[in-house]
Assembly symmetry: C2
Homo-oligomer: 475 residues x 2
């Protein structure tokens, strides 16, 4: 199948047999694909916790081995200051386009463990879904690419060059990927970056994420007295850092849920009424949304819809808080310190480094004289937008239209893949976000899962993308 | 020494030889006393954490064995629904008064462990102080009584009847002592309760606690969505329970640091200007206080001094807070739940059950529609006042005057010993709080310690109390 004659024969193939043999190959091999993914999911590759370091390395080795087995060459586990990056490629002809596939094999911490119905690293299948930490984010979606690659290789149907860059630090901000990319610009030369780390609206309503928010993640520490005190002896006379932290947090947003950090909104690109109208067409039922989450009311920035609040507006969220005695029973302590983890989602053209600075200044300025505060940045990333007129977007749109039987809707996701902006800056490459998860997959939550339909649909759709993209580029 | 002839010979003894042989006996035995206390401190009797249950039982057995060795009869480890109560007695004559000694052998949890300079349950002596969890609160002070009892027994100098009631649940609210007392009223018949679980102003300035605050300790839970969510996908649109908990906590006090719980102050007895003037005589240096705690400013209720804020005014303190991801690194989660442990110190005539109800009503009323809240009472106790004109107070005052060479100052401590009010209600017995700790002993904190001076001074003073009290009662 693979040749240089460009569009005609590839499209011919697409029309007359391409779909058939993709589907047939998937049919014949799906049980093996699932079994292999389950093995991948059994490796607890939690990048945030150093206790899991060797498991993260095991996951990298797994990816490298599967890439090689699928037909990749020059496979390498590239060590970094943190967790390794797995590289592999198949170069068939320098005159054909090159697609760089990005994904991550690391996963979020599984806690709170007691809320899982089955152990997070012992995958089980229930109602046609695979339950495990990382099932959707991102091991399941990375593995779609490895199997789609195998499919194209085994059917001699890889239409262009492909390069894989699968990292192990996405869940902790891809701290070392930037340096690695800068050191490997030659090896990473290509035309576009293909990423499956996002979701579709539903299995009947495909969509492609065209906007990603940036991120600024930091930790704050409030110190009151220089030691833990007996709350009976000192309570009422000494500022309690938990109380002060709560007061400071409650002042980070006003009554309209606007973020009060000075200058926070200065660089926000306002979205045109036309774009807001287009977004409003996304199927969305507020009552279903509330029922699914078990809440009576939503809460967000005045003047914006729920989809706008999660899509086009920046946000500030508390991701964690702790201080004093949090164990069983009671302890009458007035603690010395209280802490919180806070993240802000950013939209074009906010700069995460600027926002981190603004937050730190604001938080330090608002600290009352009876406490000391410390702000520690964790990581960040820039927001990103994809053009719906780009070759890669059109190739993905056509691929999904072929396999779903419906044209996908361009959406703006609330999540962040900080690295996407970096790819553009360092490699000059645009990314297309062709994800196959669902918002209901509980990524980052207990009982994360990934539909077998979605896993196989990804494997089915990806080869169409490669053929469409090659066709367009070789016109 | 023990006889029925009442005051004269006892006072005679006191005048001419009593002090000498007390001091001589302590001199001869102090190393053994210290070694025994160290062994007691090695038992991690943390009552709040069920993981320590068998250690708590070991501590009870230790107390029972030492009471028996010192000469107590009818020693019994009384099981309860929780941790056991150790009882022992020495009845020498029904016509002589009976002093009931109360104390507790359980200790506060030791965490945060990393702030201890030496392991909390491996006592060490540094600068004439014993460092260990429970060194002062209350093992060290309980052991003073056991050794003072041994001293009186070995010198045939016990002037009256004595009963010991040493419990193992004081640090978790003495949940089961009430039932046990009601079931043992006969056995507990006596004239007064003697407790050493408080502190003196300094080693040069003895004091006796005449006021104890009551306590209402509870836990609050705020629930937002029915599961942990990805903060990028849902952040900005769904109420974050950490944020809401912080907002609710920040509304529990107004700008004057008045507690906003409706009806909270209704039953507070106002303290006379005369009493406030008397309290103001307590030596106190605000700059030393701030320097000791490493704070620039104190914070408390407008219109009251620091001593008044901790002594005569009710307070509300955050003892713990937790929610979301609190581990290493970062997790972009919008959690389902957030929690806090809150305790209120109460003054006469506040009722802890009423206050707990008022708080729960207030907290539920202030909860916004987009969250659910739950308030779980932990434990509580009534506030208490001792008359400085009572026989027991006078006996304690004279005893301290004898051993410190200075008349003790009546003070009002901020802490709570909820059981004291219960003794009065159930047994009709007043308590006298003759403590020997220091506020700087870091009870409830890392590096808790107890001065060897204080330990021995307690052993020295207690026999004087027994003799003074018997003398007064047998006049």
């Amino acid at each position: 199948m693979c040749n240089l004659s460009g569009e005609s024969s590839i499209l011919a193939a697409t029309k007359f047999s391409f779909m058939e043999y993709i589907n047939q190959f998937i049919d014949t091999n799906k049980q093996r694909f699932i079994d292999e993914l389950m093995a991948f999911l059994r490796i607890p590759s939690v990048s945030a916790d150093s206790a899991y370091k060797h498991h993260v390395a095991d996951a990298a080795a797994f990816v490298a081995q599967k890439l090689e087995a699928a037909g990749a060459t020059d496979v390498e586990i590239c060590n970094t200051a943190g967790h390794p990056i797995v590289y592999g490629q198949k170069l068939i002809n320098p005159q054909l386009p090159t697609v760089v596939v990005y994904g991550h094999y690391d996963v979020q911490p599984p806690d709170p463990l007691d809320l899982w119905n089955s152990p997070p690293f012992e995958p089980v299948i229930k109602d046609e879904k695979i339950y495990a930490r990382g099932a959707c984010d991102d091991k399941g979606q990375v593995y779609m690419h490895i199997k789609a690659f195998e499919l194209m290789m085994k059917n001699n149907a890889l239409p262009c060059n492909i390069k894989f860059m699968i990292e192990g630090e996405e869940e902790v901000g891809s701290a070392n990927l930037g340096d690695w990319i800068r050191a490997n610009k030659e090896r990473l030369k290509g035309d576009v970056i293909l990423i499956s780390d996002t979701s579709i609206i539903s299995n009947d309503t495909p969509s492609i994420d065209v906007g990603l928010r940036g991120l600024s993640y930091l930790e704050v520490e409030v110190t009151g007295p220089n030691r833990d005190l007996h709350s009976g002896v000192y309570g009422g006379a000494v500022a309690n850092p938990i109380q002060v932290l709560c007061e400071m947090i409650s002042q980070l947003k006003d009554t309209k849920q606007h973020i009060t950090v000075d200058g926070f909104y200065d660089d926000v690109l306002s979205v045109s009424d036309a774009d807001r109208k287009a977004m409003a067409l996304t199927p969305f039922d507020l009552n279903e949304y509330k029922a699914d989450l078990g809440i009576n009311e939503v809460r967000g920035e005045t003047g914006y819809t729920t989809l706008e609040r999660t899509g086009i507006r920046p946000t500030l969220e508390l991701n964690g808080i702790w201080g004093g005695y949090t164990g069983e029973g009671s302890k009458t302590v007035l603690p010395s310190k209280a802490y919180a983890k806070i993240s802000m989602r950013l939209v074009p053209n906010q700069n995460h480094e600027t926002i981190t600075k603004l937050f730190a200044q604001h938080f330090e300025k608002m600290a009352p004289s009876y406490v000391k505060v410390k702000v520690t940045p964790h990581h960040g990333g820039m927001p990103y937008l994809t053009e719906t007129t780009s070759d890669a977007y059109i190739a993905a749109e056509k691929a999904m239209e072929t396999t779903f039987g419906k044209k996908p809707i361009p959406t703006r996701g609330g999540g962040s893949i900080p690295i996407v902006a970096l790819f553009e800056k360092e490699l000059g490459l645009k990314s297309v976000l062709m994800g196959f998860g669902l918002d209901s997959d509980l990524i980052h939550s207990p009982n994360e899962h990934f539909g077998i339909f979605n896993f196989l649909k990804g494997i089915e759709t990806i080869p169409h993308f490669f053929h469409n993209y090659t066709a367009i580029k070789t016109k």
